[in-house]
Assembly symmetry: C2
Homo-oligomer: 252 residues x 2
DNA sequence: AAAGATATTAAGTATGCACATAAAATAGTC
DNA sequence: GACTATTTTATGTGCATACTTAATATCTTT
């Protein structure tokens, strides 16, 4: 008869909490939602100046710290802009700000329920060509390791990657067997970066990519380029050419 | 002789501050850099558990709040993962997390030093086709306003946009003259959204887009789709088809 | 051993307070 | 008037403290 009592008590606690939150407590999330609501319903329009934190805090009846926390969240989202002494204004030229999470390709395939495969196509060493040198922002070409490989999903090509790695920055990679495991994976697990540039565009498959991926020559392919550094030392730059139909989505 | 004295004093203050910051004060940014440094130099490897905030605070000699602030920053960047009672661990499956800012097209063109132009191609009203209905996650097609327009940079096509707007959610748009100014601009300034989905992919120009943009039929074009809601009400969905060579970059 | 209740723990939040900082406004000087 | 110095001010930060929350670990009960 008294089973699940604890669970019931917890439910009651949660209920009390909700009531308390509504009536008494002021969480920064509530404050943020309240302010955001006033922006959404045009009480404050783009370009408008919001009252200063202190006043908002007094109106609501919470600490200024709490308003500050809410405001920082809105500021991080690109909804408002804050400047010392200048106050807080609703962004006049709103941007669509999105957070993109690009996972390791293997994880991406497996998360979709596919079987992941990896195939090393070619490994060589040589001077970086102009686009690669430019990606790194280097003054002159350097000798780097070039790795061309194919990621497979359910035995079919998924992403072709063309990578250059600086063995000067990452000497350990020379000892890794890259015929089984992707350099992507090793690097991302063993060499955290401090800076990362991303670049997205579309490219016609052409003779080269169509041959590798087995697509029509005129197919349009989505390409992601990623370049990473540790401090100012170049780590790697990859051009990832995806299969037709590939889409990059933002997390909701 | 005593000109710029204030400026000099400020320099001295700044110097003192630097010294103080190094010797005494512990800003959360310093704490974050210190921890991040230990992750970058593999003192803590992916999957490792970090000491609890309290201990780190004691070791460094700062308040726990400061460590908390630093940790939240690392957590926001996707470098560590934090769980109540579970502690802080270095992300085992690191993702490349990037922040994308997509500005209003006019701003983008002008920022590049180009002359912006806008051309309304067609306006009509009708039931949303399947892909549009799906983008909004609606159960059934709705009557919405369709706007096809061209953004120009230096008198040449830059982006072709095919937009559907729910006049039910945004009735005011009916009163706006869309022949001069883009719906994009009006909406973004007057109708903030509470949710936004983004989708990027590549598409072959084909007969339709090549005709509008004046490109080769086999050209690969970069496409951005954006759908916005206010709470659960659909606002608009746009397919923005860009000119060949268009690239989307992350802010550094 | 399995299920459920309880305790413990580490992160998360709220607050008051003092002070730092950068930017704007004002005052001062030549 | 143009430049510079000073003051003002709204946001930003650091700290101590107390409390909340969600997750895990441990203990009980059957």
């Amino acid at each position: 008869m008294f089973r699940n009592l604890c669970r019931e008590i917890n439910k009651i606690r949660q209920f009390e909490d909700t009531v308390l939150t509504v009536v008494v407590r002021h969480s920064w999330k509530n404050v943020r939602n309240e302010i955001q609501g006033k922006i959404l319903d045009s009480t404050y329009a783009p370009g408008d100046k919001l009252p200063k934190d202190e006043d908002i805090a007094r109106d609501i009846g919470c600490a200024r710290t709490t308003v500050q926390r809410a405001m920082r969240d809105l500021s991080d989202s690109g909804i408002v802009e804050r400047r010392r002494k200048g106050g807080t204004i609703v962004r006049a030229d709103p941007v669509t700000r999105a957070i993109l999470d690009i996972p390791i390709t293997r994880m991406e395939v497996e998360q979709k329920g596919g079987v992941y495969g990896y195939q090393l196509l070619e490994m060589s060493s040589g001077l970086t060509p102009v686009p690669v040198t430019a990606n790194f922002g280097l003054g002159a070409p350097q000798v780097m390791l070039r790795i061309q490989a194919l990621h497979l999903a359910n035995q079919r090509p998924y992403i072709y990657e063309d990578r250059w790695v600086s063995l000067q920055t990452v000497p350990d990679l020379a000892d890794v067997d890259l015929s089984k495991k992707s350099a992507n994976e090793w690097l991302v697990r063993n060499k955290p970066y401090s800076r990362c540039d991303l670049r997205f565009y579309a490219a016609r498959a052409g003779d080269h990519y169509s041959g590798i991926l087995g697509t029509d020559v005129n197919e349009a392919l989505f390409v992601m380029e990623r370049t990473t550094w540790i401090h100012t030392d170049p780590i790697t730059t990859v051009k990832a050419v995806t299969m037709p139909g590939y889409q990059l989505l933002t997390q909701i």
